[in-house]
């Protein structure tokens, strides 16, 4: 957890803070517009604040709010949020060997605060789980540095968005800064041909499967990209070499 002082002893914590700092502006713009959208969709200010602080998952919040306002049954809302969050299930499979040395409650809190970009930066920085307790602790410190910046930036901006919902013009499209942040990180990950292919396949599949409900197109896209890359790796093992950074 990023509030534990033990992480801050490691320089990796501050490296994580700096890495996540490079995208904080985009994440904040996104948090701001999520805050605005929750209020404009019909939640009261207090409800929107509670949702910000408890749910901490922008895309699930945006999917759930209109359903809550229209009075959908609870299980439908929860099933929808689960589906929108399915990519995190994939991420947790990836992160498992990095976190299993921690007690369960720490693992769950770590998972809870690990959003998309914290996961992506972590996976980029550490292709393999640490072999010693010290390496694992440093990796965890890096992850928590990322999460700390993401948490503070997102929460602050969301609260501002909720409070000033009616003063912030949605038609300016400030939330696009969040997409640009992801785009920059995407470019930074494109370090091998197969990774570029993975992005291409995923992008095309996400567009083609757009009509699927509950953002399931994202899961379809990840599965297709991983499958295509694995097949090509298998057919031509030479090409899979040369991954810088993973």
């Amino acid at each position: 957890m990023f509030f534990l002082p033990q992480h801050r002893r490691y320089e990796e914590f501050w490296e994580g803070v700096r890495d996540q700092g490079s995208v904080a502006m985009g994440i904040s713009a996104w948090g701001l517009m999520t805050g605005v959208a929750m209020v404009k969709s019909g939640l009261s200010v207090a409800e929107a604040l509670l949702m910000t602080f408890i749910v901490y998952a922008g895309s699930a919040q945006l999917a759930a709010v209109p359903m809550m306002v229209s009075g959908a049954p609870l299980w439908v809302i929860l099933a929808a949020a689960f589906c929108v969050n399915l990519r995190f299930v994939v991420f947790s499979a990836h992160l498992r060997p990095y976190l299993m040395h921690l007690p369960r409650w720490q693992r769950l809190v770590s998972g809870y605060v690990t959003g998309d970009l914290s996961y992506v930066f972590f996976a980029r920085r550490y292709p393999k789980p640490g072999q010693t307790p010290d390496e694992l602790a440093r990796q965890q410190a890096y992850l928590m540095g990322n999460c700390a910046v993401n948490y503070v930036g997102w929460m602050t901006a969301s609260v501002v968005g909720v409070v000033l919902a009616n003063a912030i013009p949605t038609e300016w499209g400030l939330g696009f800064a969040g997409i640009l942040a992801l785009l920059g990180v995407l470019c930074s990950l494109a370090t091998s041909r197969l990774r570029v292919l993975s992005a291409g396949v995923a992008g095309a599949a996400a567009v083609a499967a757009w009509a699927l409900p509950l953002k399931l197109n994202i899961l379809v896209a990840i599965a297709s990209a991983v499958a295509v890359c694995l097949v090509i790796e298998h057919l031509d093992p030479k090409r899979s070499g040369g991954h810088r950074g993973a």
């Binding site: 502006m25 994939v90 696009f176 800064a177 942040a181 990209a225």
Partner: protein, 111 residues
């Protein structure tokens, strides 16, 4: 404005649990197991795939369709952002360069 509907509160708490369960899905069990080798290799392609799956539709689609006009601020903003990245490698610069192109086109020209 400060009213909290009880049912809404319950829904919000349950949604928070969904966040915990999905983000920590494979951390819940203490039983030792690990993913098969092919899955571990495959996961190295997951981060970039997840980003592309979120980002690309947000740039090239509008109202559920591929954009059918080049007069869309997002296309130019994405190009400007990628150009900046290939030049300077910074993500912050990618955001700033992209928004510097996006806002005038979107707010000014209505693209």
């Amino acid at each position: 404005m400060l009213d909290v509907d009880l049912w809404t509160l319950l829904t919000i708490v349950a949604l928070g649990l969904i966040t915990v369960v999905t983000r920590g899905f494979f951390f819940i069990s203490d039983k030792p197991w690990s993913l098969p080798g092919w899955a571990q290799r495959g996961l190295q392609y997951a981060p970039i795939a997840a980003l592309a799956a979120v980002v690309i539709p947000e740039i090239v689609m509008a109202r559920g369709q591929l954009v059918d006009t080049w007069q869309d601020a997002r296309l130019f903003a994405a190009l400007a952002g990628m150009a900046w990245f290939s030049w300077k490698r910074g993500v912050l610069g990618t955001i700033v360069a992209g928004m510097a192109v996006y806002l005038p086109l979107h707010v000014g020209l209505g693209w």
